[in-house]
Amino acid sequence: MILLTCPNCGQRNVSEFRFGGETVQRPSPTETTRATWAEYLYMRKNVLGVQSEWWYHGACGCWFIAERHTKTQEILETYFLPEK
C-alpha cells in the first residue's frame, strides 16, 4: 500500500497516516460485564479480506474509516464516520 485517500485532503502517501485498528462496537457502559469489556478491548476479528478500519491523517488531524483488503492492500472506500 502506497497511497491512501483522506476524505478531507485527497490522495496522500501512506506515511502521512497512522493506523488505528479495526472498527469495534463499544459496549454500553451501563451493561458492561468483564467478558464484554475484554471482548471490546482485546478480541479482534483480524479478517483476511475486506476490513473496516480507523486511520488518522496527521496533516489535517482527521480520523476516518477505510475499507481495505488485508491481503491485496486494495482500498475500496474511505469516509468519515457518519453522524448519528
Partner: protein
C-alpha cells in the same frame, strides 16, 4: 566428497529422506495445525517424552514455510518480565542441547548479543533488564562504549550520530541459529518416533460438537480427533474462527532483508531498540537485518520500499562504512501480535482446542520450550507453571504480562 561423486555418477540417492510421506489416517489422538518450529517441537516432545505417537502435523505448504523460515534466527533470553525471562531461558538451554538431542547440527552460535541504548531512559531500562536477568540467573550485564568497542569495533561509537551509543545490554549466551535445520531436525525426530507429517494439507474446518473438538476437515479429507493444537502464528485467527474461538490477536507483516556477502567482521548480534534495527552476519557473510513490524495489520507477504529506506538509514547510522553495500533480497512474514507482547498458550473455551499462538516477533527463539511445555499440557492435562501466566483468560481477568523486552515493536 568421493562418496558424493560416486553417488552422483551411479544415480543412486545416498541419503535417506528426512521424513516420510503418509496417507492421511481417519483418526489421530492429537492433530497439530502448523508445521513450523512450534508445531513440530510439540509433536517431537509428545512422542519423545510422553509416548504419544498417534499424532499428525498438518502444514498448508511445506515444513518451515511460515515464520520459522522467515525470521532472523536470533536466540536470547534477556527479557524484562520475570515470566518472560524464565520462559525464554529454558528455551535457550534447550537450544544449547538441541544438536545433540536431535542428532542434527542446528549450528547454534552463541556469539553474544548487544542491545544498544542511545539515551538515558534506554540506559535505565537496560540496567533494569540486566538486574531482572541476573536475579534469575541469566548472564546479562550493562556495558559501556569502551567494552562495546572491544566486542564490535565497527560500530560508530563517536558522539557524531544523531543518537550516539551510550551503553549496551550484553548477553553472552545470545546468538543465532540455522532456522531451517531446527525445523528439519524436529521433523525428522518426530517422524522417527511415528508422528505423521502431512505437508500441502490445508485445514478447511474444525468440527465442534457440544463444546468439544470432534475432528478436523482438510483439503485431503476428514480426520477424527479429540485434541487440536493451533500453532499457526499469523494465520491463527483464521483457524480459531473455525472452532468458534475468539482471539485477541492482530496480524502484522514483519520484514527482513540481507545484504550481499561480506568478509566476516561482525561476530555479535547487534540490536538497537531506539533505531528499530537488528543485525547479525550469517555464516555466508550476508548481513541479516530486520526492523519493526509494518504499521498496519495485513496478511500480505509483500516487501515495501519504506521499510528498506528506514532500515538502511538506521544501519548506516550504526555502521557508516556499509553505505555502499548492496541489498540482496527482502522478504516478509506475518506475525500474530498481542497487546501485551506475550504469547497465548493453553486451553480455550472449546474443550480439546488448544492454542500456542500470539508469538508475534519472538516466536522462533521460544520454539523448543513452548513445544515441550505444550506437549506436557496435552499429555498430563495439567498446565505447567511456565505456561500459567500466558493463558488466554488473562485478558478477561485483566492480568496482562506486558513484555517490554520484546523486539521489533515500539513500546
Amino acid at each position: 566428497m568421493w562418496q558424493l561423486i560416486r553417488h552422483g555418477l551411479n544415480g543412486k540417492k545416498p541419503f535417506q529422506r528426512m521424513w516420510r510421506t503418509h496417507t492421511l489416517k481417519d483418526s489421530y489422538d492429537v492433530v497439530i495445525i502448523g508445521g513450523g518450529v512450534h508445531g513440530l517441537a510439540a509433536a517431537y516432545y509428545l512422542a519423545r517424552d510422553h509416548g504419544i505417537t498417534n499424532v499428525a502435523v498438518l502444514e498448508k505448504r511445506y515444513i518451515g514455510s511460515g515464520g520459522s523460515g522467515r525470521n532472523t534466527t536470533i536466540i536470547r533470553s534477556n527479557y524484562l518480565t520475570p515470566e518472560g525471562v524464565a520462559f525464554y531461558d529454558e528455551s535457550v538451554k534447550l537450544y544449547e542441547e538441541l544438536s545433540l538431542d536431535l542428532n542434527f547440527n542446528v549450528m547454534f552460535s552463541q556469539r553474544g548479543h548487544l542491545t544498544l541504548a542511545h539515551n538515558d531512559s534506554s540506559v535505565r531500562t537496560m540496567r533494569w533488564r540486566a538486574e531482572v536477568n541476573q536475579i534469575q540467573g541469566v548472564n546479562s550485564r550493562l556495558i559501556y562504549p569502551d567494552e562495546i568497542a572491544k566486542l564490535c569495533p565497527h560500530l560508530d561509537l563517536s558522539d557524531h550520530p544523531r543518537y550516539p551509543i551510550l551503553a549496551a545490554l550484553y548477553h553472552p549466551p545470545g546468538g543465532i541459529i540455522r532456522h531451517d535445520a531446527v525445523v528439519w531436525g524436529y521433523a525428522r525426530g518426530a517422524d522417527q518416533r511415528g508422528v505423521h507429517i502431512h505437508q500441502m494439507t490445508e485445514v478447511t474446518g474444525i468440527d465442534v460438537e457440544h463444546g468439544r473438538v470432534a475432528g478436523v476437515q482438510t483439503s485431503r479429507g476428514k480426520i477424527k480427533t479429540g485434541v487440536v493444537l493451533n500453532a499457526t502464528a499469523g494465520w491463527c485467527t483464521l483457524i480459531a474462527d473455525m472452532a468458534g474461538v475468539r482471539l485477541p490477536i492482530t496480524t502484522h507483516p514483519l520484514q527482513a532483508t540481507v545484504t550481499e556477502a561480506l568478509k566476516p567482521f561482525l561476530d555479535t548480534v547487534i540490536v538497537s531498540g531506539s533505531l528499530h534495527v537488528y543485525v547479525s552476519q550469517s555464516d555466508r557473510g550476508e548481513l541479516v537485518m530486520g526492523a519493526s513490524i509494518d504499521p498496519y495489520t495485513s496478511y500480505s507477504l509483500d516487501s515495501t520500499l519504506g521499510f528498506l529506506e528506514s532500515l538502511s538509514g538506521h544501519m548506516i547510522e550504526l555502521f557508516p562504512f556499509l553505505s555502499r553495500v548492496k541489498i540482496l533480497r527482502q522478504w516478509a512474514g506475518v506475525c500474530d501480535m498481542t497487546v501485551d507482547y506475550s504469547p497465548i498458550m493453553g486451553y480455550t473455551p472449546v474443550e480439546g482446542f488448544l492454542v500456542d499462538v500470539g508469538w508475534g516477533t519472538y516466536g522462533f527463539k521460544a520454539g523448543p520450550v513452548s513445544g515441550k511445555r505444550m506437549a506436557e499440557l496435552i499429555a498430563t492435562h495439567k498446565t505447567p507453571e511456565l505456561l500459567k501466566p500466558f493463558r488466554l483468560s488473562r485478558f478477561e481477568e485483566g492480568r496482562l504480562v506486558g513484555e517490554k523486552g520484546a523486539a521489533s515493536v515500539g513500546h
